[in-house]
């Protein structure tokens, strides 16, 4: 039997295309301070362990872990770094609290993507160094190929994908923290530049800067410290075939398996009925549809129709990416997953302002590690 674990504090900086006025250290500090204040805890006195999620290359440093403790109050404390998607940070906190070693933990991740002059060429270094990197391609061609295969296998159309971009950018207009809110139409998406056929410019999310910190606690501590704890009911994460040559191109296997794990941990039998809304990865417009199918949040082959009918709109029967998603908020590198969790927590607390969904009890956050990786994570949260 797992111990119950809850999010009891959140802190974040607004997400912006550039942030020349602050360093990543100041961004981490701001988000951490807000989160500790929200949870009513002191990092030095109350927090048992810290986990941060950051990659070296995106920061231009070797061993980025060096730079983490000072900015979040973790000096001479139990702290470690995962070079990974940040939902894995939440999963790590979930595990450590379940061992009984920690009762209160902080999870941190941030993006300072505007510091990268040539992010695409940086991502090229994630390609297989023997088989793929020497070809010298811009790695985002992988997304184009995958989109093509996904559309071929499921019959999803480019218009349906474009609708995702339209919806998420519109949702972001109601999110004061979002960087790329916009009113665009399907035609705007379809007539935007072709980047990696069939991906158009507006099918792709843009990078943004921002920091997020969450305070996570065991049930006993959560009940004592927090009026509205948001329970982490399940976590799941999976790594699928990394090489381009052996992976399934149409289906998001990592999301299906990570979802199955999270549903098992959470005791969810029928995700479509038991989950009220979701924040799924939408790095590219088609990814949202691909992930909805993989997570069994729609009937097989129905994701395209779901968005067409407006079911995933904010007012629809199953709202998806109400925050604006990565298309509207901006893609936050490793922090992307934590932004999805953040939105789920805000909605479940009833603190989502003008974009608040009525009567939501269970929400799902899902992330994908990004091109060219084939791995992802899922977290399920609820307010009861």
């Amino acid at each position: 039997m797992q111990r119950r674990v809850a999010v009891i504090g959140i802190g974040y900086t607004p997400f912006r295309p550039i942030s020349p006025d602050v360093s990543f250290k100041e961004m981490m500090f701001e988000a951490a301070q807000k989160a500790y204040e929200d949870a009513g805890v002191s990092p030095r006195r109350d927090i048992d362990a810290f986990v941060t999620c950051e990659e070296d290359f995106t920061h231009g440093r070797s061993i980025f872990n060096i730079h983490t403790p000072d900015n979040i109050g973790a000096v001479l404390k139990r702290i470690h770094t995962l070079p990974a998607e940040s939902i894995l940070g939440l999963a790590d906190a979930y595990m450590l609290i379940n061992t009984g070693l920690a009762n209160i933990m902080a999870v941190e991740s941030h993006s300072k993507a505007s510091n990268m002059l040539t992010p695409n060429y940086l991502v090229a270094h994630a390609m297989d160094p023997v088989y793929n990197k020497p070809l010298g391609y811009n790695p985002y061609f992988i997304a184009g190929m995958e989109m093509n295969r996904f559309m071929h296998e499921t019959g999803v159309t480019k218009e349906q994908c474009a609708l995702v971009s339209v919806k998420n950018r519109a949702n972001a207009l109601l999110n004061p923290g979002a960087a790329y809110g916009d009113k665009v139409g399907v035609d705007d998406v379809l007539s935007s530049d072709v980047m990696f056929h069939p991906l158009n410019r507006l099918d792709m999310s843009s990078l943004a800067d921002g920091g997020i910190v969450m305070v996570v606690a065991s049930e006993e501590k959560a009940r004592r410290l927090c009026k509205n704890p948001i329970w982490v009911r399940g976590v799941g994460w999976i790594s699928d075939a990394p090489s381009l040559e052996t992976r399934q191109w149409g289906e998001a296997g990592y999301a299906r398996l990570a979802g199955e794990m999270a549903y098992r941990v959470a005791g969810i039998k029928n995700p479509r009925k038991e989950i009220d809304f979701a924040e799924v990865d939408d790095t590219f417009s088609y990814k949202e549809l691909q992930h909805l199918e993989a997570l069994k949040l729609c009937a097989p082959g129905q994701a395209g129709f779901m968005v067409e009918e407006g079911a995933t709109q904010r007012e629809g029967e199953f709202p998806v990416n109400v925050s604006g998603g990565s298309l509207g908020v901006g893609r936050l590198d490793e922090a992307t997953g934590l932004q999805k969790v953040l939105e789920v927590v805000l909605q479940l607390r009833g603190d989502a302002g003008r974009r608040q969904l009525p009567d939501v009890k269970v929400g799902l956050a899902q992330s994908w590690r990004g091109v060219p990786a084939n791995s992802g994570a899922v977290a399920i949260l609820s307010n009861e």
């Binding site: 290359f57 060096i66 470690h80 995962l82 070079p83 590690r369």
Partner: protein, 385 residues
């Protein structure tokens, strides 16, 4: 708390391995570890990866690339990263994956390939430090070590010759290690006469750069007892990070190692580490580091480690052997893999399977430790039978 045991281990020879990719090293060693306890990938519930900076092999998100080699295909898989402290942390991470109750069997894989970093992996460290105050100085790690060694010697009146004894001991211990890169019989004079890298650090005070992999298999109590008659239990785990601002710390003593050790000892119920621990594998990338880290591990008082070494108490046949494996100085320093190698050494020693390296007197409890970042992190694990 759920009891967790180490049930299997494997490692490759540490050396320059130009014939294998990192993926192949991870695969070969994972298979070795699984074979050692008669398991297959089907029995593995999750995988953790330890591997140091991506800059070594210039692969962004290196763990994603290594995943299928490490046996993580379609399994929960995550990488932990604490610089040089990564290896022992990988073992701690595998422990909490199983102790959390989410998984029964966890494969802890560490892989390191430093030879691909040309002209020398030191280049990867230049971008570690603070980008405003430290990196512009163009410091190499050796400078930092020289500062620390100097400060340590000065604080306690320890001599270079005393410190050189650590190199002599560890390289000698490594002669019995089939995977060792730099075993050998050397003398204190050899160390003293070797090239000065950054005074007082000399070439033979420094561990080599290495390629290699080491893998452990962790299992929950009920499963472990099914797998093996000789499970080695994880009794304690600790990790701790000090401030990155090196100028704000007195380098004579690794307080962060002490804090991490106390976390692990509290978990293990150890009150007097000097007497309750039979063997120790402190991290020894440089000869003085073994002494420095052993003091942090509370295996002796501050400044006493050199005397214990001079008196021969830390020899394989001594009262409390330190680095019976040969350590990073003898076996090689494939950063993350060396940390796991140290935990594997405890596993073999405590099971009585260490062959020519076997510490006499049936050791029952051991501590392994790694250290890294900007002289900043301590990771500690206590195993026992």
């Amino acid at each position: 708390m759920r009891k967790v045991a180490v049930v299997g281990a494997g490692m490759t020879k540490f050396m320059r391995r130009a014939h294998e990719t990192g993926k192949e090293l991870a695969w070969e060693t994972s298979r070795m570890a699984l074979n050692s306890c008669d398991l297959t990938l089907k029995d593995v519930d999750c995988v953790v990866m330890g591997t140091a900076p991506d800059a070594f092999d210039m692969i962004h998100m290196k763990h994603e690339y290594l995943s299928d080699g490490a046996g993580a295909w379609r399994k929960p898989y995550v990488r932990g990263f604490l610089g040089g402290g990564t290896g022992v942390f990988t073992a701690c991470q595998a422990w909490y994956h199983v102790a959390s109750g989410l998984f029964d069997v966890c494969l802890a894989v560490s892989e390191e390939k430093m030879s691909s970093c040309l002209p020398h992996p030191q280049g990867a460290f230049v971008t570690c430090w603070d980008q405003f105050t430290e990196s512009p100085l163009g410091t190499s790690l050796l400078w930092f070590f020289a500062w620390e060694m100097n400060r340590y010697m000065h604080a306690h009146g320890i001599t270079e010759r005393e410190i050189a004894l650590v190199s002599v001991k560890n390289k000698k211990n490594a002669i019995e290690h089939p995977c060792a890169q730099l075993p050998g019989e050397i003398t204190v004079d050899d160390v003293m006469n070797s090239e000065i890298m950054a005074w007082p650090v000399k070439r033979l005070d420094v561990s080599p750069t290495s390629d290699g992999a080491a893998v452990l298999v962790f299992a929950a109590e009920d499963v472990a007892k099914r797998i093996t008659d000789k499970p080695v239990w994880v009794e304690g785990a600790g990790w701790c990070l000090d401030t990155m601002y090196i100028g704000q710390r007195d380098l004579y003593y690794p307080k962060y190692v002490e804090y991490a050790a106390r976390m692990a000892y509290d978990m293990a119920g150890i009150k007097e580490p000097r007497h309750e621990i039979d063997i120790a594998e402190p991290y020894d990338p440089f000869s003085y580091k073994e002494l420095h880290n052993a003091e942090g591990l509370l295996l002796c008082g501050k400044g006493e480690a050199a005397k214990l070494t001079v008196d021969g108490e830390t020899q394989r046949t001594g009262r409390q052997p330190w680095c019976p494996s040969g350590g990073a100085l003898g076996v090689g320093n494939a950063i993350a893999a060396t940390g796991v190698m140290k935990v594997a050494e405890l596993f073999w020693q405590l099971r009585g399977e260490a062959g020519g390296r076997q510490v006499p007197g049936k050791p029952r409890r051991g501590v392994a430790q790694a250290w890294g970042d900007e002289m900043q992190v301590g990771t500690v694990i206590v195993l026992g039978v």
